[in-house]
Amino acid sequence: MERNELLNMIKEEQEKGGHVSEGAMAGIAQTLQLPIGDVYGVTTFYSFLSTKPLGRHVIRICKSVPCFLQDGVMMAAAIEKELGISPGETTADGRFTFELTNCIGACDQAPAMLVDDEVYGDLTPEKMVEILKSYD
């Protein structure tokens, strides 16, 4: 294993455990013979990696300007109402984590969001509620 595998290794840990725990970071540091701070530094640099437990599904609503112009803020508000959580929080049943994110490159179908790896565009509050139903 070489240093350039680090990001992939961290991602694997996140996929396995739902987040990157301190233990996981220590394990990677040992395998690659790196200071643990270095692994922590890389993990916390990237917004898709998390050192805190995430829900089974992560909702990322785009807050960048093109989505904002198409009422992206209302979509975020609709999620807060539907799930009862604010950005950065996870539902008590561990089903969803809700985050606001920067441009996801779906500006032609704004407002848009990602749920895990799927992109959904031309959102309305009603449409979003329907989409969320398909995630258990």
Binding site: E2, N4, L6, I10, Y46, V65, P66, D108, L114, E118
Partner: protein, 409 residues
């Protein structure tokens, strides 16, 4: 001027999951021609074409390739930058979705020209839904023996705007924080793993096959003096028909946003992404080219009802969040700008805010490490140039609001 579909000619026509449908449209003919040429001859054609980088910085592509080719050493890398994080940009996504093979053909030609045996495609995490299609395209191209001397590895990002910046991208592939590097050395001399490296944007690479088939001078027949060929524009915001449009370089903004995308009552347009120039509604005749405004090709349209100070504040919040934090002018400069613009936005501005924004802008542009900090002040300065009245109104409202507080004790 209508659309000119050259780069997008296959989009919607071919099955992106089937390499034979790409071959049916003349796909890989340019690669075949390339393999009968010397690498230097390929580079000469790209130089003659006048092609410049389509990711935003606009560096001449052929000159860059020549530097990498001439750099000593057998181990060289090609990187395709598919970390399309610039706000309002989605053209590379469109290509990857509809015509991934044209990218692979461009990469095979580029790798041959510079002498790279290994190439990476750095795909942003937000585009993970494109990964499967891309992997499939690579494996089909391998099966058909178009990638005999080239190994293509797809590396995924993990959510960081700055990784679209070439030196930060290389750090990310190396397993480090995606922080920008000091330059020189420049990547064609010492880039990924300190080896000569070429980093090209998806759209840049898609141009290559057309240059080879038409010849550099044939390609250069389109465009302006310093901006050759066509460009993909991503129109979003207050328009009837948002989407990707391919236009000859030098076309004017009005044709794109009004005639094609159906914008009305345009207040201003930001061209090139979050750090792009602001063009007020009265100046829609501005041509789109490297000589004037271009950037990544993002074209965000704002109608007259929008608030320019609020927009600049939101943009600065984004840049502050995405600053990698390595250099002080960008890390602290964007922070201070968010604070000042936020105050102006909330009606707590003071007279000194405008000169402070201007002075800080100069400092950041001169002393930041990479393009993010160097160009972050552009929307601030442009909005101050064209919409100073809006800032001044905010300040006088602020003064009025404060006077009320004093009166009411």
């Amino acid at each position: 001027m209508p659309e000119k579909r050259i780069l997008l000619k296959n989009c919607g026509k071919i099955d992106p999951g089937d390499i034979q449908s790409y071959e049916g449209q003349g796909g890989f003919k340019a690669l075949e021609k390339t393999l009968g040429m010397s690498p230097d001859a390929v580079i000469a054609e790209v130089k003659a074409s006048g092609l410049r980088g389509r990711g935003g910085a606009g560096f001449p592509c052929g000159a860059k390739w020549e530097l990498a080719r001439k750099s000593p050493g057998d181990e060289k890398y090609l990187i395709c930058n598919a970390d399309e994080g610039e706000v309002g940009t989605f053209k590379d996504r469109y290509i990857l979705q509809h015509d991934p093979f044209s990218l692979l053909e461009g990469m095979a030609i580029s790798a041959y020209a510079i002498g790279a045996k290994k190439a990476y495609i750095y795909l942003r995490a937000e585009y993970r839904y494109l990964l499967e299609g891309l992997l499939k395209a690579v494996s089909q191209a391998k099966e058909r023996e178009y990638l005999k001397d080239l190994e293509i590895e797809i590396r995924e990002g993990a959510g960081a705007y700055i990784c679209g910046e070439e030196s930060a991208l290389m750090n990310s592939i190396e397993g480090k924080r995606g922080e920008s590097r000091f330059r020189p050395p420049f990547p064609p001399e010492s880039g990924l793993f300190e080896k000569p490296t070429i980093i090209n944007n998806v759209e840049t690479l898609v141009n290559i096959a057309h240059i080879i088939l038409k010849g550099g001078t044939g390609y250069a027949a389109l465009g302006t003096e310093q901006s050759k060929g066509t460009k993909l524009f991503c129109v979003s915001g207050d328009v009837e028909r948002p989407g990707v449009y391919e236009m000859e370089l030098g076309c004017d903004l009005r044709e794109l946003v009004v005639d094609l995308a159906g914008a009305e009552d345009v207040g201003w347009v930001q061209v090139g992404g979050s750090t792009g120039a602001i063009i007020p509604g009265e100046m829609l005749q501005t041509p789109l080219s490297y000589e004037t405004v271009l950037g990544s090709g993002a074209v965000m349209v704002f109608n007259e009802s929008r608030d320019v100070v609020d927009f600049v504040y939101r943009t600065m919040e984004f840049l502050n969040e995405e600053s990698c934090g390595k250099c002080t002018p960008c890390r602290e400069g964007t922070e201070v700008m968010v604070e000042i613009l936020g105050r102006l936005n909330r009606g707590e501005g003071v007279e000194e805010d405008i000169p402070v924004l201007e002075e800080l802008s100069r400092t950041m542009m001169l002393s930041s490490l990479c393009g993010l900090g160097q160009t972050a002040p552009v929307p601030v300065l442009d909005s101050l140039k064209y919409f100073k009245k809006d800032y001044e109104n905010r300040i006088s409202q602020s003064v009025f609001l404060r006077s009320l507080k004093t009166v009411n004790g």
